[in-house]
């Protein structure tokens, strides 16, 4: 471990923010106040943060329908996100996008996406843009084990290889594409990284519930890509603590499965254990972060609830820049 105290505290804060943001949404959705479909990122915190902690604002990411974690890890304003999910006028996307369509280009977050597999080709294009600018930045496509089966993802991987784009395919394998298991849906013996290798790029594998394993593996990967080695991929073995969408009864889960993954594969617990065992941080410091994050999420929620709705008169604005 080479991370300093501030970096460690920051990583924990970002993961705790994702966790509490999502847990709060899980509760708030039950009240009926939040409209639409919401897909929670809980369980995958170490993946988003372990990847994005290497990135600057000029490094770009494209995200998925399960995108809140990527947004927070990349630096999107948490209060603006909450307002967006509540469909408010001052939400990050003016209440037009909602949970599945949060974007903030000012922090290099090119957008969550409601179409599975749509992001990978966009990341290649974004990577070509960074390559043209020549400042060593990269573009990352977050995809799940579901998106790895879309033709768009295959095409994007090949295009990245043939154009030597500094594109990175992060496959977060949470073992479920919607309600179907990865054992069924991914034919390459559950292995996604090997597909990336077959397209001719270097691929890594890491524990996507362990911040340190993800972070350190990403360091090697980024050294390769930023050094001009071409595109790369990483498969992160992670967990989805909730259903495909909020309201999913999850009858496909095994008995005790959710309890087991919460006990054994919780990114926050694993982080605490790792830094505690190594004597790097006091648990009291992390408890204090939890309390600060709770205050932030409390404020974000109450402000979102009280925020004004969008004006229906503006419904057809922003379709074009100029029309």
């Amino acid at each position: 471990m080479q991370l300093g105290r501030d970096a460690l505290l920051g990583a924990y804060r970002r993961m705790a923010t994702i966790r509490q943001f999502e847990e709060r949404l899980h509760d708030e959705i039950k009240t009926g106040e939040i409209a639409g479909f919401t897909h929670l990122y809980c369980g995958q915190e170490a993946a988003a943060v372990g990847v994005c902690d290497h990135l600057s604002t000029e490094d770009l990411i494209v995200s998925t329908h399960r995108g809140h974690g990527h947004c927070i890890a990349k630096g999107c304003d948490v209060k603006g996100m909450m307002k967006e999910i509540y469909g408010r006028r001052d939400g990050l996307c003016k209440g037009r996008g909602g949970s599945m369509h949060i974007a903030d280009l000012s922090v290099g977050m090119l957008g969550a996406n409601g179409i599975v597999g749509a992001g990978a080709p966009q990341a290649v294009g974004a990577a070509l843009a960074t390559k043209l600018r020549g400042q060593g930045h990269v573009a990352i496509a977050f995809s799940g084990d579901g998106a790895c089966n879309q033709g768009t993802t295959f095409e994007a991987m090949n295009l990245a290889v043939v154009t030597k784009a500094p594109a990175i395919f992060v496959f977060e394998n949470n073992h479920y594409s919607e309600h179907t298991g990865v054992q069924y849906a991914v034919g390459t013996d559950r292995d996604i990284a090997s597909r990336a290798e077959a397209f001719g790029m270097k691929a890594w594998r890491a524990n996507g519930c362990d911040y340190f394993d993800t972070y350190e593996t990403m360091r090697d990967l980024l050294e390769h890509v930023r050094g001009g080695g071409g595109p790369a991929a990483i498969e992160l073995d992670t967990e989805r603590f909730y259903g495909h969408f909020e309201g999913d009864p999850q009858r496909y889960r095994g008995e005790g499965e959710l309890d087991r993954i919460r006990a054994e594969r919780d990114a926050l617990k694993i982080f605490r254990a790792r830094v505690g065992d190594a004597g790097l941080l006091d648990m009291a410091e992390l408890d204090a972060i939890d309390a600060e994050v709770k205050t932030l999420i409390d404020e974000a929620t109450s402000e979102a609830r009280a925020a004004p709705p969008p004006d229906p008169a503006h419904v057809a604005e922003d379709v074009y820049v100029d029309y």
């Binding site: 469909g87 996008g97 909602g98 949970s99 179409i115 879309q150 309600h179 229906p312 419904v315």
Partner: protein
């Protein structure tokens, strides 16, 4: 006659038709659900509840869960149909035609014509469509106009359980590709469904009510919106001819023109953006073929020329409403 909702009517029709015809297969994402999980298959039965029980009865060779691969789902349906099966492919959201459009647009729709009439492609694609659930820009669209515009595809939009059964059965007896649109906000609509074999021919509109003063032409969820507007008008003694198109390809021009010749006034209601829409298509047909009968310009009530927004207030503003429809009817009635 049994009373059931549209969801149940579709489920039962699939079941009965698969019992009748062993060449019918069902494929799509989570149509069984739970494959490769500890909970096991049939854990879901489709997120819309329309394919439950099919796997248990007909097995995995005929009820096929697919990975998230819409282009492959529709393409496999096209190929299976060419090879003699009757596939029923499900697109969990009609918006996903974006991923699979080539297989619909350049393949399935064109085989028969390109191959000199020597082939047929009896595939049914079930597309779950429509707004009303705040599912935002990529999960709310009514994309039937796009597919209506493509020669070679039939486009079907049931609004009652009886029509759901009759038209799904018709699709599964026919030999052409059928785009079977199911509005996600109409699944719970209940009604009587004929027992036993029952088919509803395509190209026959449903006269929901006859009133003689103003014509309303619509389809899908907007039929119910028009009924609310027509009720308001009826309270003022204004009679509405309300036409549910049922299919936009083929289109029952005769039903529309017959009504307009009597009323001279028409409101066309369409849950999609206005440009190149089914509403615009019908307005053009009426202008061309019933010009001398018209006493007022045709009026279209549609969505906006924008993507469908997320927030409740915005989605409501984007959609047609019973009030907008009623106002439009009064407008064409007042026109002199």
């Amino acid at each position: 006659m049994a009373v059931m909702n549209i969801r149940e009517a579709i489920n039962r029709t699939l079941y009965e038709e698969m019992e009748r015809d062993p060449s019918i297969i069902v494929l799509g994402e989570d149509v069984v659900g739970g494959a490769g999980t500890a909970g096991g298959q049939e854990a879901i039965g489709g997120i819309w509840g329309t394919t439950g029980g099919l796997f248990a009865k007909f097995g995995g060779d005929r009820v096929i869960d697919t990975p998230i691969s819409e282009s492959a789902i529709v393409g496999a349906a096209a190929g299976a149909a060419l090879a003699g099966l009757r596939p029923v492919a499900e697109l969990m959201f009609a918006d996903f035609i974006g991923v699979s459009l080539d297989q619909l647009w350049n393949q399935m729709a064109k085989f028969r014509y390109m191959f000199g009439g020597k082939t047929k492609c009896p595939a049914v694609v079930r597309l779950i469509y429509g707004a009303g659930m705040n599912a935002a820009a990529q999960h709310s669209q009514s994309v039937y106009a796009l597919l209506t515009a493509m020669p070679g595809l039939k486009v079907v939009l049931p609004t009652t359980p009886a029509d759901a059964k009759g038209m799904l059965s018709e699709a599964l007896h026919g030999d052409d590709p059928v785009m079977f649109f199911e509005h996600k906000a109409l699944y719970g609509v209940k009604g009587e469904v004929p027992d036993g074999p029952f088919r509803q021919r395509f190209g026959e509109a449903r006269m929901v009510r006859e009133g003689g003063d103003v014509t309303m032409v619509t389809c899908g969820r907007m039929v119910g919106f028009c009924e609310k507007a027509a009720d308001k008008l009826a309270a003022d003694g204004i009679g509405t001819d309300l036409i549910d198109l049922r299919t936009t390809s083929p289109l029952d021009e005769e039903a529309i023109l017959d009504s307009v010749e009597q009323t001279g006034r028409i409101v066309i209601v369409d849950e999609s953006p206005p440009r190149c829409s089914v509403a615009a298509d019908i307005a053009a047909i009426v202008a061309e073929k019933a010009f001398t009968s018209l006493k007022a310009p045709p009026r279209m009530i549609t969505g906006q020329h924008s993507p469908i927004p997320f927030a409740r207030e915005l989605e409501r503003a984007w959609l047609p409403s019973p009030q907008k429809i009623e106002d439009a009817a009064r407008h064409v009635l007042a026109f002199r």
